[in-house]
Subunit: 202 residues, 2 copies
């Protein structure tokens, strides 16, 4: 009789709803950071209310961890595969970028979760994020070592610095990409190839 039906199941299985919430959470956490993101806003994006979010994920940390693990696993996997394939040191950056762009074409905020400075300094999230960053750093340091030694530079501190700047470059490229939804992964890769070729001769 009444037209308002705000309550009751909407027939969506838990698994599917959870996936929606993780996607929405990733975007919101990526956009506003852990500290700035709001649970009720994340629920609202999916057309659902806060208690359901808590029933499924337990807490803000639980949701963040779910988002972080999805992003971190996909990222480390993709980079590991690319690095394992090997190649010339000055070709690796572009290959890794291509892998990242392809993997996260429709999930561009995911990368930011690993480097969110607003997460609590201690606890599960900090530990998990640090672990993913450590794994990525290992790859970055490996690539930087190959690149610098091929140029006659061997200072380990230089290598660390280059590795960190590299992750910052990825960060910037992804932020730039987020602001340009029309640019797909292939266009992004082509642009980077053109620029690196022109600037560095790589």
């Amino acid at each position: 009789m009444t037209e308002s039906r705000p309550v009751g199941t909407k027939g969506m299985p838990r698994e599917e709803r959870e996936a929606q919430l993780v996607v929405a959470g990733t975007e919101e956490f990526g956009r506003a950071g852990y500290a700035g993101a709001s649970m009720v806003e994340i629920a609202r994006r999916v057309g659902v209310t806060k208690p359901l979010l808590y029933q499924y994920f337990g807490s803000k940390d639980g949701l963040y961890l779910a988002c972080l693990h999805r992003a971190g696993d996909r990222l480390t996997e993709g980079v590991a595969t690319t690095m394992a394939a090997g190649g010339e040191p000055d070709q690796m950056p572009l290959k890794v970028l291509a892998a990242i762009f392809t993997t996260f074409d429709h999930d561009r905020y995911a990368w930011r979760l690993l480097r969110d400075p607003t997460v609590p300094a201690t606890g599960d999230i900090a530990a998990a994020a640090a672990d993913y960053r450590r794994r990525l750093d290992t790859f970055a340091v490996l690539g930087a070592t190959q690149l610098l030694t091929s140029r006659g530079l061997a200072d380990p501190v230089d290598i660390e610095a280059v590795a960190q700047v590299w992750t910052g470059v990825v960060d910037s490229l992804i932020s730039w990409w987020i602001d340009r939804p029309g640019e797909d992964a292939a266009a992004m890769t082509a642009r980077c190839a053109r620029i690196m070729g022109g600037l560095f001769g790589w």
Copy 2:
């Protein structure tokens, strides 16, 4: 009679206390972001309580704006001076870095205020930060244009991308620097010169 003397003036003039609070605020905002920073914590760092902070700055936004203006003015000024001096396109990045390192050697968190993703999306802070970023972007785009055209690249979208990546590189270098308090501005500049020379032949 009582040994506890928690109240009463401590003989510090307002101007000086304000400067202390801006320094503490810059560090705390830079570390935790606008959303994650706490006013009582900032006051505590200076050995003072919250009401004094509010008496001097009015609000959290007021304090943030004071920190932001100090950082933004010093930064844009330093970069403008360096850019105005001119030079070879591939020498400019290092010159700008040297200027930034020197200016912010004892204030390393300042840079982050301009790029804090946790500030409210609208309002005075957003406007002021956007304005500073726009000014810096203008310099970055200018430098990128000179650099890319000298290499035969002219796509304006490429130039925008390079400009944004450049600001990201500065970001990463400063983050890396924050974690290594022993490295002073001169050492940092020398390191960057060595790396850029080795990697790019600049």
